[in-house]
């Protein structure tokens, strides 16, 4: 807008060049993300947890611009708190996804972040919603972020309907490991969140415990 651009590292926006994934199983969802945050060529945070709670049993996975994604998640967290007090019970995953979608759509020209919303509610069980560019669609699983391009083939080939909770967790960890190995903007550790009727479990898989594949 103005003439001069100023120092480069200030204008290089902090991005969560990322791999995020969420998958639904019978009775819940599993979300996974890497932990790298970059500003230009520099990694500014190597342990960021990109799985952000929107409510007790609803989480969202952040990707794209760190500032935009964090702000959307915090705004929706607040709006969901108000909404759940108004209705007097836990909110539906579809409501959370709709709130995220409303912000993403209304400000789609100004924002550059993609959030995947996943959680469990009493009405429809485990659900995963993608909100890319302001759409709202329920999917059995969703991948996002810069690292997702490298693993579309893997997830399309390996996904089967009716996987158990443990199989889903393994599927998520495998996908993240493959993407982190190929994508320069993804790396660090893997965060896994499993949400079902009884509990919300957060787990960290450190770098040396990630599954290895051919050529590693």
């Amino acid at each position: 807008m103005l003439g001069e651009t100023g120092p480069e590292w200030l204008s290089e926006e902090v991005k969560t060049g990322t791999t995020i994934i969420a998958i639904e199983f019978n009775g819940g969802v599993v979300l996974g993300s890497d932990s790298r945050v970059s500003a230009g060529a520099s990694v500014v945070n190597r342990v960021m947890n990109k799985l952000s709670p929107l409510h007790d049993k609803i989480y969202c996975a952040l990707s794209g611009s760190a500032a935009d994604a964090q702000t959307i998640a915090e705004m929706v967290n607040y709006q969901l708190d108000v909404h759940s007090i108004e209705i007097g019970e836990d909110p539906q995953v579809r409501s959370a996804a709709t709130l995220v979608r409303n912000i993403s759509y209304k400000y789609k020209e100004e924002l550059s972040a993609h959030l995947i919303v996943a959680g469990w509610d009493r009405r429809d069980g485990g659900q995963v919603f993608a909100t890319l560019n302001g759409l709202l669609t329920r999917q059995p699983f969703a991948v996002g972020g810069s690292g997702s391009s490298y693993v579309y083939g893997f997830v399309d080939a390996e996904y089967r309907r009716g996987m158990s909770k443990e199989e889903c967790q393994q599927f998520v960890v495998n996908t993240l490991s493959l993407a982190m190995n190929r994508d320069g903007s993804s790396g660090g550790v893997a965060y896994i969140v499993t949400i079902d009727e009884h509990s919300t479990e957060e787990k960290v898989v450190l770098g040396n415990n990630l599954p290895t594949f051919f050529d590693q």
Binding site: L2, G6, P7, L10, S65, A67, Q70, T71
Partner: protein
């Protein structure tokens, strides 16, 4: 005051007012931001570039700032050089800003932006604290800062390291100009951040003692000072623990000005005087005027 003087001043005011009125009537205010100065700046830049000069650049603190969480609190560190392009504008500026009695903030980026942003949030936090009746929390200061920086979409060039101790223990945040924040046990920012982070990644341990933490921060800032052109001069530290703040300025004068070992001046009388001629200069008094100050 004589009536003659009063009438002459009022006559002057009236002519000024009519001039002002002619300027203001031309365009009514529209509301919202006014970008008139941007057009003016663009025109000025064109004019100045034609002559061969360049407009003055915003002074930035090419900087090394960092923070570390230790057993009882946080240690914040900063260098003290402020640069204007390739020239050092201030050799001993203070980059650790007060937010509240238990929270301090280091600032990198545009000096004016970090200064004003921290002052605004410090003022708002004080009002907030009067409203809650409690000591403010570091998370509150973090929220206020990130929401303000996001609102300005990165145009406020302030990269901050925010640290403090509150009822929930010690906390450390890094805040970027676009409004994203990270909560970590050790953070570095500024042009010297890579050098400082190298020191942290090598020697950081959780639950350090105060002296070890101070030494670590000092070494990290020193790495930035000696390996980054934008950072230099002294090392300031701020140690925040529950109930006590140690603002150590300077902690380490890493770049003390050296003492000259020799002198090119000669003592009076070294050169012998051969002759002495005195010529008085006659200066003519052209005009004498007295301007009285209004000290009423």
């Amino acid at each position: 005051m004589s009536t003659h003087a009063a009438s002459s001043t009022s006559r002057k005011h009236k002519s000024l007012f009519t001039k002002m009125a002619m300027l203001t009537v031309s365009r009514p205010p529209l509301g919202g931001f006014s970008f008139e100065n941007c057009k003016r700046n663009a025109v000025l830049e064109g004019e100045v570039n034609k002559v061969g000069c360049s407009l003055p650049t915003a002074r930035k603190t090419g900087t090394t700032i960092c923070g570390v969480v230790f057993k009882d609190g946080v240690v914040l560190g900063a260098d003290t050089r402020a640069t204007e392009g390739m020239v050092v504008a201030d050799k001993n500026c203070s980059k650790i800003h007060y937010i509240s009695p238990n929270i301090y903030c280091c600032g990198a980026g545009t000096a004016a932006d970090t200064e004003m942003t921290t002052q605004i949030i410090s003022s708002n936090l004080e009002l907030h604290g009067l409203s809650t009746g409690r000591l403010p929390r570091v998370a509150t200061a973090n929220r206020m800062l990130k929401q303000m920086l996001f609102r300005y979409q990165g145009y406020i060039g302030a990269a901050l390291v925010l640290g403090g101790v509150d009822c929930n223990g010690p906390h450390l945040y890094s805040i970027y100009p676009h409004g994203s924040t990270d909560k970590l046990p050790y953070v570095t920012m500024g042009s010297g951040s890579l050098a400082a982070m190298a020191v942290f990644e090598d020697r950081y341990k959780p639950d350090m003692e105060e002296e070890a933490a101070k030494q670590l921060v000092r070494d990290a800032i020193a790495a930035g000072i000696f390996n980054d052109l934008g950072s230099g001069s002294n090392i300031d530290l701020c140690v925040i623990t529950k109930g006590k703040v140690d603002y150590i300025r300077p902690h380490d004068e890493a770049n003390k000005k050296g003492i000259r070992t020799g002198d090119y001046k000669y003592k009076g009388g070294t050169t012998g005087v051969l002759t002495k001629v005195v010529t008085p200069l006659d200066l003519e008094l052209v005009d004498e005027s007295v301007q009285t100050m209004d000290t009423s």
